[in-house]
């Protein structure tokens, strides 16, 4: 089975790195050993993944063995490591069990290589970026990064929904830990949000989505009788349309949380509180794409429900446009990139929603390259600017940090969709697929194309404000201005190459090439895509659309150049004339405030009511029980003291009273006794004599 048999080690290397660095790193290892372990673990994962993916090409020649099932038609190898939750027999007599099982097929292979490859580059980058951190922080950072890699790989490889969910929750946990990495720092002075608050916001928002994921999972389990992904997908034909729609929408709600779609996107911009490599790895390249990945993984389920598909497409398109428009007016370099990420994730969801799953994965991949590059370059800028993130205080940096500048330009052109860079091909494929959707195709295309224009515009705005124009920083910053160390520049360069060439695996057929990626993914996603395709190929029209989207992107770039470099006064006039809209965008459409009003405020009120109930009713009952006991005790004690003891004492007092009387008789004087005796004799004798009758 070659390296496929070792697939289970892929998540284990980072786990080992996490345990080593997390338990021993800060105390026993020098910093160099820490990063060697962390990067080495990810590199090993990458190499094993690469070997396994290469071995998967000859899937037909692989022989099944116990614990390793081979599905040659779907190019899938499923490794079962052991039973996790054995559940006995089901109603129809089959064995029910949730296994620790990993599946390698073209879909997870693409994810695997993107996650380990980009993950490795970001690990290397972190060596330089976190280099100035003192030791415990340094080791903690790499331990968390490795844990994240392990969880992400579990998510990608998981062959049953619970295994995927373990990874799903694990990456959420790591995201929380890394967003709040500098938990003692303030993130947003205006709203008094600390980095720890930002982490919590991300975690809780994700949890809301996770409820949908769990419910969807349980719904599928109840109706399909299994939690194995392929088992569920094989049974979608027997499920009713209502169940399919409900399950698909619930899973999509979970994906909305993880992949930052409306209405749960609010956490991602605040996730920028984490260190920049974290933003690049988790909040751009890998974790946030997990929702898209799971949606594509469950594609046959979604295809059973046109309503759910439409919902995915509409939510994706709206998110793309909405986030892009907010990105226009942000002044924090990372916030611009964060809204850009939300917008691009919307693109991916749009692709999945219109049935172009391989296009979604394609864009996921190219986005991982160019957005990781953008974040890492932004990190390099922040590093050079001594921690400054406000683009109003930058400008003219192209002369000072040429490598960062060059890679940033490449990434900007790639995300803007300028051919022949990576973003062009994936974005174009999505737009083409959206255009062919029925019945909303034209609308979805317009939204997508408009978003493409906005993306080009705000990215060029970002580029101009950071790298061109006059220098707007002070001498103190200028004094420290420096190009980043080689460990940061090399990953940038590698990612720049990928951002240029990464799209060439998916050049559409009209240009005379073969769409390699779509072909590679076809065993998994091809059937579904054929089913969803509404329009036949129209080569000429496709070329026209390509030119149109390129023109739109170029127009956005030129507009950005005009407004921010050529004629800044025109921008000021525009902002003046549309002041209301501008304010709305700067304040992110007040969505956070809206959620605060309609979700958090009632929630806090509920909490206060619960606290009041607890304090007064629950505590009141408990206290009342206490008081009743106390009162009973007092009564009981009173009865004891005054009645029982009283009777006992009364007997004593009576005895004592008699004693007192009789004691007085005992005078101790002999003559008293003698007198009494004589008197007594007199009485007795008198009585005797009287009785005798004298």
């Amino acid at each position: 089975m070659t390296l496929i048999g070792l697939l289970w080690t892929v998540p284990l290397f980072p786990v080992a790195g996490f345990l080593l660095n997390g338990l021993l790193g800060a105390r026993f290892f020098p910093k160099k050993a820490v990063w060697v372990i962390a990067c080495g673990a990810v590199l090993l994962s990458f190499l094993v993944s690469l070997g396994a993916v290469v071995a998967l090409r000859d899937v037909g020649s692989l022989t099944p063995s116990p614990g390793a099932a081979v599905d040659a038609r779907a190019h899938r190898v499923t490794l079962t490591l052991g039973s996790w939750m054995p559940m006995g027999r089901s109603a129809d007599g089959s064995e029910l069990s949730v296994d620790w099982s990993f599946a390698l097929d073209p879909l997870s292979a693409v994810m695997l290589l993107v996650v380990t490859g980009v993950g490795f580059l970001i690990h290397v980058y972190s060596i330089g970026y976190m280099g100035h951190e003192p030791h415990p922080v340094f080791a903690r950072f790499f331990a968390y990064l490795n844990l994240f890699m392990a969880m992400m790989l579990t998510l990608v490889l998981g062959a049953s929904l619970p295994v995927v969910f373990v990874g799903w929750e694990g990456v959420g946990l790591c995201s929380y830990l890394l967003i709040g990495f500098y938990y003692d720092r303030m993130f947003d002075e205006k709203t008094r949000m600390s980095c720890a608050d930002a982490g919590r916001k991300a975690f809780i928002t994700n949890r809301i989505g996770d409820v949908g994921f769990i419910l969807g999972m349980l719904l599928l389990f109840v109706n399909a009788g299994t939690l194995d992904i392929q088992g569920i997908l094989a049974k979608t034909g027997t499920l009713g349309p209502g169940v399919c729609t409900a399950a698909a929408l619930l899973l999509f709600f979970g994906a909305c949380g993880k992949s930052a779609q409306i209405p749960l996107y609010v956490w991602l911009p605040d996730a920028m509180a984490g260190p920049t490599p974290v933003s690049a790895l988790i909040h751009a390249a890998t974790m946030v794409t997990a929702g898209v990945y799971v949606t594509c993984r469950m594609a046959p389920l979604y295809l059973k429900s046109p309503g759910a598909m439409l919902a995915v497409a509409v939510v994706g398109a709206l998110t793309a446009l909405f986030a892009a428009s907010i990105g226009l007016a942000q002044n924090d370099i990372k916030k611009v990139l964060a809204y850009s990420t939300v917008s691009q994730l919307g693109y991916m969801m749009l692709a999945a929603g219109v049935g172009a799953f391989s296009a979604a994965i394609f864009h996921l991949m190219t986005h991982a390259f160019f957005k990781a590059l953008l974040f890492l370059a932004a990190g390099s800028v922040i590093h050079a600017m001594s921690g400054e993130q406000d683009i109003r205080k930058m400008g003219g940096l192209d002369r000072h940090i040429p490598w960062t500048h060059a890679t940033f330009v490449i990434a900007t052109l790639a995300i803007a969709g300028i051919p022949p860079l990576a973003g062009f091909f994936s974005k174009d494929e999505i737009l083409w697929a959206a255009f062919n959707q029925r019945p909303l195709g034209l609308l979805l295309w317009l939204v997508g194309a408009g978003t493409a224009g906005l993306t080009a515009f705000y990215m060029w705005r970002l580029y101009v404000l950071v790298f061109r124009g006059e220098e707007r920083f002070d001498d103190e910053v200028r004094h420290h201005l420096h190009e980043s160390p080689r460990s940061m520049i090399v990953p940038l360069a590698v990612l720049a190459v990928l951002a240029i060439a990464g799209g060439w695996v998916g050049i559409p057929e009209v240009a005379g090439f073969r769409n390699l990626l779509a072909g590679y993914l076809a065993p998994v996603l091809g059937a579904g895509e054929e089913a969803a395709r509404a329009a036949p190929h129209a080569p000429l029209f496709e070329v026209v659309m390509m030119i149109v989207s390129t023109v739109i992107a170029a127009f956005g770039l030129v507009l950005g150049w005009v407004f921010y470099e050529r004629r800044p006064e025109a921008r000021v006039r525009l902002a003046e004339s549309a002041r209301g809209l501008y304010r709305l965008m700067v304040n992110k459409y007040y969505v956070d405030e809206l959620y605060g009003k309609i979700v958090l405020a009632p929630y806090y009120a509920l909490c206060r009511a619960a606290a009041w109930f607890d304090q007064w009713v629950v505590d009141g009952v408990v206290n009342a029980a206490g008081y009743v006991t106390l009162a009973t005790s007092y009564t009981s004690v009173g009865f004891d003291t005054y009645v029982v003891d009283g009777l006992v004492n009364l007997a004593g007092y009576i005895v004592r009273g008699f004693s007192w009387v009789f004691r007085k008789v005992q005078t101790g004087i002999v003559q008293t006794y003698a007198t009494a005796m004589i008197f007594g004799i007199f009485v007795l004798v008198s009585a005797y004599l009287l009785a005798r009758g004298h």
């Binding site: 005078t667 101790g668 003559q671 003698a674």
Partner: protein, 101 residues
């Protein structure tokens, strides 16, 4: 002509009464002892009187015994009074009331 027994009995009654009064009213232990001797002798006189009246010697013999016993009794009584005086410097019985309740 012998003295009638009734006279003797009245005399002995008076003597006895003097003894009783002496015991009850005097404070001096020695006087009380002496009064007790008076009462005993009143009893002896009764024995003698009835011995004469009944012409029987038993009464006389009895009184001789009584006088002998009385001699012993006085010896003991005086020894008690002597011990009392040594310990308490008093022979007044009302000053000795350790048995008071």
């Amino acid at each position: 002509m012998p003295v009638p027994a009734s006279h003797i009995l009245v005399f002995s009654l008076l003597l006895f009464s003097v003894g009783v009064l002496g015991v009850l009213t005097r404070r001096n232990a020695i006087v009380i002892l002496m009064s007790i001797e008076l009462m005993m002798n009143a009893a002896n006189i009764n024995f003698i009187a009835f011995s004469q009246r009944l012409q029987n010697m038993v009464g006389q013999v009895f009184s001789v015994f009584t006088i002998a016993v009385a001699a012993g009794e006085v010896a003991v009584g005086l020894a008690v009074v002597l011990a009392l005086f040594r310990n308490r410097d008093t022979v007044y019985v009302d000053e000795v009331h350790v048995m008071k309740g």
